[in-house]
Amino acid sequence: MIEVKNLVKDYGSVVAVDDISFVAENGRISVLLGPNGAGKSTTIKSIAGLLTHDGDILIDGHENTSIEAKKSFGYIPEVPIFYENLTVEEHIKFIGKAYKLDNYMEYADYLLEKFNLSDKKKTVAKKLSKGMTQKLSMILGLMTKPTSMMMDEPMIGLDPQAIEEVLVLLKDLKESGISILISTHIIDVINDLWDDAYIMNKGKIVRVVRREELKEDESLKDIFFECVGE
């Protein structure tokens, strides 16, 4: 479970995230929605411990920068960066060893198969296409079997088939009881998937929507445009 309490992130006089609080529950898919510059990526990066911030962030009850928290969450950035001279397999071994995982290769092979990257195991990262790097980023994020997962615009760069695979995978992960937090501005892709939506605008959460509370004639898209005034 990811708990965010009174998160504030500023860049000098610019407040990117302005006192937001929310929870991404286990077994549910939570989405941060918002237009460009709403503060979604800043929020995700703060949760991953990559940005200094004010406020409290707990992952499975641990402070987000603690070793315990790092062991239990996975993070997939919007723009993946790899060690370009290392092969796909070497990246997997690096993460497996760095996280002290047991028998990680078996699960990594399953993920490689799922993302159609099995034949690229010996390929160096700099020779992968944009879509393939996004898939590798997913594999590295998932292979640690996290109990909380954060994804920043995870579908960008993926082909339609890979998007379908990710959607199926997300459903599987949700059913296994992990908490998933996705930041996106493309509502259509996650329309059938989300459980809780936090709509952000200008650094604030302006609306919280739960799927079970949605009226029949309401759609997340309509609520979103109503909130951000576009």
Binding site: L50, K70, E90
Partner: protein
């Protein structure tokens, strides 16, 4: 031309605005400039107190060393496989705008003048650092060296532009580029051979004769530059004006040749501008052009250690793949200084000072900065102190290789005692370790990344300041010990003291910097 003049000055204004865009960057830049001026002032003041007389051989050796460094820099420029005249932004505006070919070429040349001035400033600062102790290096000499270096560098950069433009219409022009460097190198080597053959049994005398040989003045450009500088030191107006006039004449001829160049070069310049932009983008990620072009070796039996140690395993694997254990430039520089130290009979102890300067310059943080762009480094669930220690491990290995290479070459040439050699390894390694730790701490201190000059200066300041404890302790040891103690024993004690002091300072740097690996510092703001 008015619009391009506006563009030229607005770009410069933008650079200055960027430097002073935040208070920290502005203050650091200001302090750095004051420090450079103070350092230069101190060098000149200290020299007056020493009141040494000018040695003719020293003057010639100094100028030849300076010209050697300039030639090395020029050779690197000329031997590059690919080059570009402008970046994409410039290319887009100047080639699509309503400007005549001559205007565009004049703009490119003015930009080259700006580049020459900046490089010349760096060169004279380097001159002060390397040879400021010599009586000949007066403020006037430095000023003249700056002017004549600017002209020389402009001829080099302009020459490169001319040959680049020529190459578009005539691929054979590539041979001229290599030919220029080869001709100059052959002339200098020939001159050395002549002096060696004249006194084959006394290499030191042959070197001294070579350094003072008046035939060198006939070597195009470099010879004229030496003529000007020697003329200034010897107060010989004819030599001084003659050398400078010859350099300026070549620059003017080159300028006229370039603005009258024929052929359609826009497409090629645009294409290379895109490539240059990519190189710049990669450089901001901490990669050099050499890194990007380097062939990757396939490595078998890849093993990673567990936890934070996997970081070191990964970095060593990358080094094995790129075979990047010792950079060619650093090896060449060490051999170059070794040759200088040998030629002017400076001895092993003084050669160590040069090795230290190379270490100071090469303790760059590109590798670490590149590493810190990867989020994995922050997310690995291990202690920040362990992560940082494993992160710098490959840098340490590279530094040890570099020091061993340099000092072993020094051992062969100068033949110090084994005790002195071992003591120097320990001593220099301790400074090297401290430089690495200091450079890492300076990343944490700066982190903005929008002011490369200030970053470089602050790194230097941090590292120089960090040397103080070891230097003070070493001087104290030298003053306090029994004056009859043997040189080897004294050097051994000094190296132990340096290792302790530098080790402690280095450890402090690491402790202060470890928070960086928590994630919320560098990558962040």
């Amino acid at each position: 031309m008015q619009a391009l003049t506006y563009l030229f000055f607005t770009k410069m204004k933008g650079t200055v605005r960027n430097i002073f865009s935040n208070a920290v960057s502005g203050i650091i830049t200001f302090i750095s400039i004051i420090f450079v001026l103070f350092l230069t002032f101190m060098i000149f003041t200290m020299k007056e107190e020493l009141g040494e007389t000018v040695s003719v051989t020293d003057v010639h050796a100094l100028i030849m060393m300076y010209l050697g460094a300039m030639f090395f820099f020029s050779a690197i420029l000329f031997l590059q496989k690919r080059t570009a005249l402008v970046y994409k932004a410039d290319a887009n505006y100047i080639f699509s705008g309503p400007f005549s070919r001559k205007t565009v070429l004049n703009y490119l040349l003015v930009d080259s003048v700006k580049g020459s001035i900046l490089y010349a400033l760096f060169a004279v600062f380097y001159l002060c650092m390397m040879a400021g102790y010599l009586p000949a290096v007066t403020p006037g000499f430095v000023g003249i060296a700056f002017i004549v270096s600017t002209v020389l560098l402009f001829v080099m950069l302009g020459g490169l532009t001319y040959l680049y433009l020529l190459e578009i219409t005539n691929p054979n022009a590539k041979k001229i580029k290599i030919g220029v460097i080869v001709v100059i190198a052959v002339l200098v080597i020939g001159l050395f051979a002549k002096n060696f053959l004249e006194c084959p049994n006394d290499i030191q005398l042959a070197v001294a004769n070579f350094l003072e040989d008046p035939l060198f003045y006939f070597v195009p450009l470099f010879g004229y530059t030496k003529l000007c500088l020697v003329g200034f030191v010897e107060k010989n107006v004819m030599m001084f004006v003659g050398g400078l006039a010859l350099d300026i004449f070549i620059a003017v001829v080159l300028w006229l040749l370039i603005v009258n160049v024929r052929g359609d070069f826009y497409e090629k310049v645009m294409e290379d501008a895109e490539w240059a932009d990519e190189i710049r983008k990669q450089a901001q990620l901490g990669k050099t052009k050499e890194d990007m072009n380097k062939k990757i070796k396939e490595v078998k039996n890849v093993e990673f250690r567990s936890g934070a140690a996997a970081i070191a395993s990964k970095n060593i694997l990358e080094l094995r793949k790129t075979k990047n254990w010792l950079r060619k430039q650093e090896a060449f520089l060490m051999l170059f200084y070794l040759a200088i130290a040998f030629m002017i009979d400076m001895g092993y102890t003084f050669f160590q000072y040069y090795i230290l300067i190379i270490l100071l310059m090469s303790a760059n943080t590109d590798f670490i900065v590149q590493e810190l762009k990867h989020h994995y480094i922050y997310l690995i669930p291990d202690k920040p102190f362990k992560k940082i220690m494993y992160l710098i491990q490959p840098m340490m290995i590279k530094m040890v290789i570099m020091v061993l290479f340099g000092l072993t070459a020094g051992l062969i040439v100068f033949r110090p005692s084994i005790i002195e050699y071992l003591a120097s390894i320990a001593n220099i390694l301790s400074y090297g370790i401290m430089f690495i730790a200091g450079s890492i701490w300076s990343i944490r201190l700066l982190k903005s990344g929008n002011n490369a000059f200030a970053e470089q200066m602050i790194k230097m300041l941090v590292m120089l300041a960090a040397c103080i404890p070891a230097v003070v302790a070493s001087v104290a040891v030298i003053l306090l010990v029994d004056p009859n103690m043997s040189y080897d024993t004294l050097m051994s004690i000094v190296s132990v003291v340096s290792v302790i002091c530098n080790g402690l300072v280095g450890l402090l740097f690491i402790i202060f910097a470890k928070g960086m690996l928590n994630g919320a510092n560098v990558m962040a703001d």
